[in-house]
């Protein structure tokens, strides 16, 4: 063990016997621990919610979306689907049709521009509408609506827009699609609205793991040739995933300020120890210790207090996050939030980041007293401590 570390630990151990130093040390250590625990709980809370959103996104949106680079319809869709299906990570490849149109109630009193999309699970003649659509045109489950496409066909009366009468099979309340004006149709109805029996807007690909989307895209995209665009589920929800990341960074920075304030206690603790141990510093300097060596004693003190406070806070924060999630200690109304309790999730990477930043803050706080200790002149220290 380096001499400086053994001196630092002896100082810490001995400080317990001196009430004023022990109190300041306890405040410094406790403050750091509370700050770190608060940071871990905040990050775990946010991660818990974000994991649920990502889980839902990866479940409700295709892991890979293959669309034409230009135009509305994908050419050679069957051949492309066969190429994609050969990748061992691919579980399912399904063609879909999507487009834009207007939805109205049966009396055409209210019209709303919507985005429609095919889903093989929806029976022909029925539609699944989002909560936003249901609310704005005033229909519910079992109600009748009329969906008008953006293309027209010839009739004895001239060109008329293609329109389909549909019955509302269900209303989707799941975020985030619930807030968008979206309608899901059977593939046959979607083709009728979009442009004909053979049209395909794109291919929706599902993988064994959503996390492998980037790797599979890199492997498959070159084999599909020109004129095809392949996007991962994170890219198709780019705005949302960026917002989630930004939210996490902002929460981290904001709550980390608690740790920064707690680190200021480390400054006062070490400054007190510099003054109290001035005579020892003079003696060590007389014995031949360099200014750098004296500084290192206080670096080690800062690191020791920082490590103790950080580890205590990390353990408490991690344990609290685990218990809150495991025993569902913060319940939520499931019909409103689609989850029965507030989720907490702590990723090892987040934990490591919190520990690293907290230690860095404590070490940064030790810089000033360490510098002061290194500059203590031996003669002055011995004279003043007589």
């Amino acid at each position: 063990m380096p001499l400086e570390l053994s001196i630092a630990w002896r100082y810490l151990a001995a400080s317990r016997k001196r009430a004023h130093v022990a109190l300041v040390s306890a405040i410094a250590l406790g403050g750091l621990a509370v700050g770190v625990a608060a940071l871990i709980l905040s990050i775990a809370l946010l991660t818990g919610f974000q994991d649920r959103i990502r889980e839902r996104l990866s479940r409700d949106t295709p892991h890979l979306l293959v669309t034409p680079a230009q135009g509305a319809f994908l050419a050679r869709s069957a051949a492309l689907a066969a190429v994609i299906a050969r990748d061992p990570e691919v579980v399912d490849v399904s063609a879909f049709v999507d487009g834009r149109g207007w939805i109205t109630d049966p009396r055409a009193r209210t019209a709303l521009p919507v985005r429609f999309r095919s889903d093989a699970e929806v029976p022909t003649g029925e539609a699944r509408v989002s909560a936003a659509v249901a609310g704005q045109i005033g229909v519910g489950r079992g109600g009748d609506v009329r969906l008008v496409g953006n293309r027209s066909e010839l009739s004895p009366l001239g060109a008329v827009p293609v329109a389909l009468p549909l019955r509302v099979a269900s209303v989707s309340t799941a975020p985030p699609s619930a807030s968008a004006a979206e309608v899901t149709l059977s593939p046959a109805d979607a083709r009728t609205l979009a442009g004909g029996a053979d049209v395909v807007s794109g291919l929706a690909v599902r993988l064994r793991s959503a996390a492998r989307a980037e790797a599979v895209r890199a492997a498959v995209a070159p084999r599909l040739g020109e004129g095809v665009r392949v996007r991962t589920w994170a890219e198709t929800n780019l705005g949302l995933t960026f917002a989630l990341r930004l939210e996490k960074v902002l929460i981290f920075v904001t709550v980390f300020l608690i740790v920064v304030v707690a680190s200021l206690n480390v400054v006062s603790d070490l400054a007190l120890l510099v003054v109290e141990k001035r005579r020892d510093l003079g003696v060590l300097s007389t014995l031949g210790a360099s200014g750098g060596s004296l500084s290192r004693i206080y670096w080690w003190l800062g690191a020791s207090i920082g490590a103790a406070g950080t580890l205590a806070g990390a353990a408490a924060g991690a344990a609290a996050a685990w218990a809150l999630d495991r025993y569902a200690l913060v319940p939520l109304p499931a019909d409103v939030y689609l989850m029965s309790h507030v989720p907490f999730a702590l990723h090892p990477r987040d934990l490591a980041l919190v520990i690293a930043f907290s230690l860095a803050a404590a070490m940064g706080a030790a810089a000033l007293p360490a510098r002061a200790a290194g500059r203590v002149g031996p003669a002055e220290a011995l004279r003043l401590s007589r």
């Binding site: 002896r10 060590l284 007389t286 031949g288 210790a289 750098g292 060596s293 031996p378 003669a379």
Partner: protein
């Protein structure tokens, strides 16, 4: 002619500045040859401790210079000066100044640990030194558990840990009773004779001073001093 272990030339030291400035001494010179045991005597406040601090390189003069073994202190940077203190100088304070959080053996081992001697080897050598100063049974005792005489003998042990060329002792017997003062003095005398090093001892005790090889007298501030033998009491 051999190079003196300690050579100080025309040292001047002032504390403070402006009208409140106090000149401790002016143009003071001293030489200590290898193997010499020199007593520095003088009234309180004449600057004996300050002189020792300047000679040991833990303070700097306003003018003049100090050489240890021919190495001029003012030519060295702070780190080199610290290294020189560790290698060639031992210091015994009036108050033992042992670190209270460390045992007697750990205190004696401090100069060795500073010199990067491995902990196990430093402990072994500290044990030998404590035996030498008559504290073999006190190795694991902390300063709070030791008597004044024992503390000062441990401080002497710490000062000789690196076998220095010169030991500066700043009134090491000032706080001890007659018996313990005698033991500490004899200890310093013995280690000086065994090692062939030099000792510069500040003392108020005329009897102890008379048993040293030389006496370097100092007087009240402002009075010019000279090399031993030239000014003040004759050599003993």
């Amino acid at each position: 002619m051999s190079v003196p272990v300690v050579r100080a030339c025309a040292l001047t030291k002032t504390y403070g500045s402006g009208p409140a400035a106090v000149r401790v001494f002016e143009e003071l010179s001293i030489e200590v040859a290898a193997g010499e045991f020199v007593a520095v005597v003088g009234p309180s406040g004449c600057g004996k401790s300050t002189l020792l601090h300047l000679l040991a390189g833990i303070d700097s003069p306003d003018s003049g210079f100090v050489e240890i073994d021919g190495v001029r202190m003012s030519d060295l940077g702070p780190a080199e000066r610290a290294k020189l203190r560790n290698e060639r100088i031992g210091f015994v304070f009036q108050f033992h100044h042992l670190l209270p959080e460390f045992s007697a053996a750990e205190n004696v081992a401090l100069p060795l640990r500073i010199a990067a001697v491995p902990p196990r080897e430093a402990r072994r050598r500290a044990g030998e030194i404590l035996e030498r100063v008559g504290l073999a049974g006190r190795a694991s005792h902390f300063p709070a558990e030791m008597s004044g005489g024992e503390l000062q003998r441990a401080a002497v042990g710490r000062a000789i840990a690196r076998s220095p060329r010169v030991i500066f002792a700043d009134e090491p017997t000032g706080n001890l009773d007659r018996e313990n003062a005698e033991r500490v003095f004899l200890l310093l005398r013995e280690v000086q004779r065994e090692s062939g090093g030099s000792v510069v001892l500040v003392t108020h005790d005329p009897e102890l001073a008379s048993r040293c090889d030389k006496i370097f007298p100092m007087s009240t501030p402002g009075i010019r001093q000279g090399v031993p033998g030239g000014i003040g009491s004759p050599d003993v």
